[in-house]
Symmetry: C2
Subunit: 337 residues, 2 copies
């Protein structure tokens, strides 16, 4: 009774009292620190611009979240990236504060250490990994007052700090794992979709800077109805392919009528990378997030690795530095390690 | 071996030889006539403009298809509608001819009798029912050289005659039953999606004439990217809701950002009908096809009937003649009766 009332209240981000239920951290007084894997994510997924995303399994950051006597949230260490330590200027801090604001004031606080592996601006959800990690970690230390889905709304505030836009298409898969569909923002409605087991992602990150603002500025405000219809036919096909585990249908649906044609010109070697992905057995390939990373999905690890080799060859020949990841789809999202 | 080669060939509408395999009509010499139920269908389904459709179970035409000695296809009787008997001017005839053109010349022919219950221009797939029925019936009498999915391409030629546009969003559900998604036209890629068992449709047809050409002329050629994104989020949600049998999600997704706002003004009482549908428990409501029929989906027959009563009251008060149907979703499509 009390818990369901609580959950209902959180939908509107109202301030709620932790004492309205028994937080399980009171039952676990020894758990004062957790170490997390905060996964990278691929948003957009060709036809699914702004609505679809998936979670990677072996590309991501690490984070330590610690319960401390001092009230508030502090970022005490960032390794691997030049990011602000001030709580209000750090995506983790902002997401954590957004979450804590919905609870009665606690008589303790949290420290966060961030070990970045995902490069900022890579297009595989660097800020989302940190935002998701912070709220997930604090939620665990508090005894899970919120569900993973509830946490999305708080992590989105970190995204707002990072890009000016409180989008959910990276934080949702980072928190929920597998594939996610952001059906609606008003009200927020997120659907998690299991991944077929043999689906693998290959992601190559050419080491150029591509600002999200630049990647957005090339988008046209209007699209032809004809293209839009083709796009939503493919979104329907992709979702159907995921539910029926029809790899070929997933592949046929991974097509972007609208964004990729204008945005891909900002990414060096895009056409060659995509072509080589298909030549080496990819089901589909497209821009990861707003780029510059490029993803390919394939059936089976072997094919994904073959694609990685072929993509690497393209950038080797262009003498362009790059990073490459091969990963199965992560069914769980952020996790304790 | 021979059959799979045959199926591959039909993809490109090439002329094939019936003698390449053993048509089972040779094994069933006594089946010379069949009587069919040719179901009405709802296309578009709010967010799924031009791609989604569903099949009704108790609204539809009847048709008799007869194998006769005289070669060719003749429409010998049409009851219930003033439609042309000439084969080349009748959607059934055109669809049948499109199918027979892909086969070697037969030394016999077919007669078709059509008993129309679905009014032309009602927006519930009148022409599609006839096109689908003709190709289905001939295919049965030939021993099923084609799958139901294969038949869609032929029935589409009937739609082309009716509206100038070889669309598949009515003929696909008429042939396959349940829900269908036309992911792509080039190449034609149709996905059938089972309906949750308790899903019912209520469809009201205000007896006004609304030409498809008029309904299309109000559409804008361009749409805002923002609206398009909301639309494909909903298409994804609707498909997900069908696979997971999540009635609430189906309801939340039945929303049309793009077409309904401009097209609904052509339909008298649209806002009232939709409002009363929701007030009486509909999961969602929108324009059926290009109108003027209006559909509502609901969980359970009782709710669907309550909605029918409420919709009827609206048009009674407006003194507008109407027809109303309450139907479960037809899982099979056109069938022998």
């Amino acid at each position: 009774m009390c818990l369901s009332a609580f959950v209902a209240k959180t939908q509107s981000l109202k301030k709620i009292k932790l004492c309205d239920f028994v937080p399980s951290w009171q039952n676990q007084p020894k758990m004062k620190e957790i170490k997390l894997f905060c996964p990278a994510t691929i948003a957009n997924l060709s036809c699914g611009f702004d609505v679809l995303g998936l979670c990677l399994d072996n590309a991501g950051d690490e984070m330590i979240v610690r319960k401390v006597d001092q009230k508030g949230v502090r970022i005490t260490k960032i390794v691997g990236a030049d990011l602000p330590l001030e709580t209000e200027k750090n995506v983790s801090g902002v997401a954590a504060l957004a979450m804590l604001e919905t609870l009665d004031e606690l008589d303790f606080g949290f420290e966060i250490e961030i070990y970045k592996n995902i490069k900022a601006g890579s297009g595989i959800g660097s800020s989302a990994a940190s935002s998701a990690g912070a709220v997930f970690g604090i939620n665990e230390l508090l005894g899970r007052p919120y569900s993973r889905k509830d946490l999305v709304q708080f992590a989105m505030q970190g995204e707002k700090l990072a890009s000016g836009n409180a989008h959910a298409d990276n934080v949702a898969p980072a928190l929920l794992g597998a594939f996610t569909l952001v059906r609606s923002y008003s009200p927020l409605d997120i659907i998690r979709i299991d991944s077929p087991e043999e689906l693998y992602a290959t992601v190559v990150h050419p080491q150029i800077e591509l600002k999200t603002s630049d990647a957005r500025s090339v988008l046209k405000q209007n699209v032809s109805l004809k293209s839009a219809i083709m796009q939503w036919g493919n979104v329907g096909g992709l979702v159907a392919g995921l539910y029926t585990k029809d790899y070929e249908l997933i592949g046929r649906s991974l097509h972007d009528e609208i964004v990729e044609p204008v945005r891909s010109v900002l990414i060096p070697g895009f056409d060659q990378i995509k072509q080589t992905a298909y030549e080496n057995g990819a089901l589909g390939s497209g821009i990861s997030g707003s780029g510059p990373s490029i993803f390919a999905l394939s059936k089976g690890k072997e094919t994904a690795e073959k694609i990685a080799k072929a993509m690497s060859d393209v950038y080797e020949k262009m003498n362009l530095p790059y990073e490459i990841h091969v990963s199965k789809i992560n069914p769980d999202g952020v996790r304790i390690i």
